[in-house]
């Protein structure tokens, strides 16, 4: 599968390595690059505030694409709240801005180090939780990672992004207070 990743930070890089290891073609861009053509799967590995401008600039090009939001929309000044409305999520906001794209929420519950290593501090396999309204899009996402070191589970419809973002928020505050390591976190144990 041809995959486009916006973002060359630690998340974009770690995510891309997994898609590459699973046999996909990955092209990397930053928000400053101009992108002429997109793969079928587009990962927005950018901070939350960048989502709106990408949606504005590339909305037409992203029609029909599977677009993956990985953000944790924290208020990074206070580390004490999310900046999205309590009854919504970054992913649902993005879907509203890109009505003709198939938006998925994924990777926001995984720390970058666990995507790199493939395990949560050596204890359990790194598991990606994915939510979205389009079942085929979720299946494509899952297939693209099938031969990677990561497990993928289905977290439900896109509205479950609210809970995934709460999970990611809690995991980040727990690491910020040094009660877990950034190489660990909340592992999915079957």
């Amino acid at each position: 599968m041809d995959i486009t990743i916006f973002g060359k930070g630690n998340m974009g890089t770690a995510i891309g390595k997994n898609f590459e290891a699973a046999g996909n073609q990955v092209a990397y861009y930053t928000s400053k690059d101009h992108v002429d053509s997109f793969g079928d799967l587009v990962i927005l590995a950018v901070p939350y505030p960048a989502l709106a401008s990408i949606a504005d600039e590339y909305g037409d090009s992203l029609k029909g694409k599977v677009v993956v939001d990985i953000t944790n929309p924290l208020d990074f000044n206070t580390f004490d709240s999310l900046v999205v409305p309590a009854d919504s999520s970054a992913a649902q906001e993005l879907q509203a801005k890109l009505p003709d794209s198939k938006v998925l929420k994924a990777f926001n519950t995984n720390f970058a180090a666990t995507l790199e290593s493939g395990s949560v501090d050596g204890v359990t396999k790194t598991t990606v939780m994915v939510a979205g309204d389009d079942d085929d899009a979720k299946q494509s996402f899952k297939s693209a990672l099938a031969d990677s070191q990561l497990a993928v589970i289905d977290a439900g419809k896109l509205k479950r992004a609210r809970e995934l973002e709460a999970f990611g928020f809690l995991q980040m505050t727990t690491a910020a207070s040094k009660q877990i390591n950034w190489t660990g976190g909340f592992g999915v144990i079957k």
Copy 2:
């Protein structure tokens, strides 16, 4: 410490065993019993709808007590939403009903089987996340479990109960869809 547990179901029983193993005295009641005196720590191991009636009946007796809400306020008809307002939580509602008690949120992120066994499917130690506004209350709670098989981490102020309830909700839907076992779940890996 003298501990009162409302609820003799699988959660109340598993929670009580851990407090007993750590050297505390535990008295168990159901919502139908009349309780004359309470311990310093009161665990409400009851379904969410029972919280309001317990608060109404025992509000005066619970003044000054540490009161622990363990509920996951799901809509069990749909398994698709929480029944509390998006910007609140069962724990914050309970604190509003019991303004002179010290309400904590705890145990809602732990499946009963993991509280019984002390591990998340044998992979990592069962870790209780506790949130609350009163630091002394959280410290008492933590001390009471210090000699148990459980680890305890501080999830922050009571407002973090929103995220803990989202976490519990997501864990339950993931188990209901058979992607994790009820003996497993989301383990805290340091």
